[in-house]
Assembly symmetry: C2
Amino acid sequence: MKPMYFTPGPSQLYHSYQTHLQAALDQNLGSINHRSSKFREIYKYTDTQLRQLLNIPSSHSIFFASSATEIWERILLNVVEQKSFHFINGAFSKRFYNFSSQLQKNPSCTVVADGLGFDIATIDIPSDVELICTTQNETATGVYFPSEDLGLLKNRYPNQLLCCDLVSIAPYSEIDYNAVDLSFFSVQKAFGMPPGLGVLIANKTCIEKSNFLKAKGLNIGAHNTFEAFQSNYMRFETPSTPNVIAIYILGKIAADFNSIGIHHIRKEMQVKAANLYAFANTSDYFKPFVTETKHQSETVIVLKSKVNVAEVISYVKQYGYIIGSGYGIHAENQLRIANFPATTKLDMDHLINVLSNFKPS
Amino acid sequence: MKPMYFTPGPSQLYHSYQTHLQAALDQNLGSINHRSSKFREIYKYTDTQLRQLLNIPSSHSIFFASSATEIWERILLNVVEQKSFHFINGAFSKRFYNFSSQLQKNPSCTVVADGLGFDIATIDIPSDVELICTTQNETATGVYFPSEDLGLLKNRYPNQLLCCDLVSIAPYSEIDYNAVDLSFFSVQKAFGMPPGLGVLIANKTCIEKSNFLKAKGLNIGAHNTFEAFQSNYMRFETPSTPNVIAIYILGKIAADFNSIGIHHIRKEMQVKAANLYAFANTSDYFKPFVTETKHQSETVIVLKSKVNVAEVISYVKQYGYIIGSGYGIHAENQLRIANFPATTKLDMDHLINVLSNFKPS
């Protein structure tokens, strides 16, 4: 029996992944030139499907990079001259902040303890900050940053660029792209693909800022600059040879999601998350790590474990399920369980059933 | 009938590609964690196979990035404080130079006309240059930079880092890694894989230089810095989630090459190249663009065409062969034909036969 991955990414491949991969190979997409009309059709198709799925307005362009980690760097180089600001509530939002430090962009931040969310109303962001960085779903801690808070932030700071990391949540959340200038995700989470592709969604203000910084003599990088992204995007090309097959499959999986209907997919994910939280709320051994309901992630559910985490992971593995340990310092006392579209409600029910039968040795 | 790609990359997939891809999926490599022992085994295996194939000494580490284009930037950021020097003989070596300009590394260069190679003895490189950049096989012009010249360069400039772009030639050429501090390639050329992975081979001097620049307060980037590459490499990991499946398949194809024997593969490629050049030397319509034998590439063969290039490309396509047009300004009067291991001597003989029967309309 093939195991089923409930890990927070890389994760279970979406059921149609292999069919699309075979179709890509049948069409020789591993060999085609990335300046060919065939490639431009693929880019355009994936662009169209993602726009529909995520409700992306025409003010925003869609660019392809290799990973969300690369995108952190591209964003900081291209839109920040002096100062970025970071909402830090876990290892990944912290790493985005560290990238800004390394790139000498003088980051400031607001930090909460792992497991907590932010009270937006109480946070003041200095007026000279150019970029505000948020992480809608902290993959390390399972904390959710509500979409409404993104709108509130933009209302309070209309002249500052707002960036939202959607790595382990897109396409689950509904984002108002009028409030979010920059966002990005990678495909090995909720899109159910292997790693190797990152997607950046940026509006015209960001492109203009990058051009402005370049004209001013700043080093905005050389590879995958916003200028190169945008000028190539105008003809549905990429600055250098991309992961063509992954771009093709992402478009096809987005089309699958569109055909099912994103509302239907969200509804099923909500039910799965609710069932897992309901189980944890009454379990003898596991408890939700994030206690405030409004900050509980519905895509990466983190459970505190009273018992040895390795024992739990190895127990559920016997039943064919792979679940994740906590991140970093939480590796030994937390579990992380992904709730992505690649697993069904029935799969989640089975996993919950296995977990509920667990007894420590 | 599936077409056969003689394009200079992306190109024909190696015959074992799909078998290895299926094996990767059967082992769930699209879902595994890149901090797992399974991933570390894969990295180590690919590292071992590449070391054997390319004869890489233990002084050099092997890192995985997303593309050669990304690697250009990483190299310039990590080992150049003030000045790089570039041998420019085509669009790709020129673009490496342009990257240095964009990154404000004050590049200088020696330039020859398209189709020519360099006379190393006549070139003087300023003593304050930190990095000398060569391109062993200019994919745009089909000009070869002899391996012996790399050794001569290192003898003359022992204190400067020598970098060699092996994008469209590895693993064909024999490189003395004692002379070459940095080299890199991407997998969509002679390794017969789809694009999405770049490989960087760097020695300890480069890592130390990067650490030195960082300690000095220079901006060496944040993503895929040499420091992050090296510290992760010590445990066969990568700084961020990589293209795991591509790393696995690269190791398997390198193992296939090792099992055939690289000398045997080189021999077959030499025969194929010799046959194609012999045909062009006597053809009424096509002539080798590079006339000096020692600078004629054996992996990307560029032919001047007296007849309409589009007509030739479309003619050979009827027989199931895809060949490339010239690069950039040469698009309308040159052909580029890749000679990679994915095509056999028989395939090349067939293509030559088709070309020899071509008559302009």
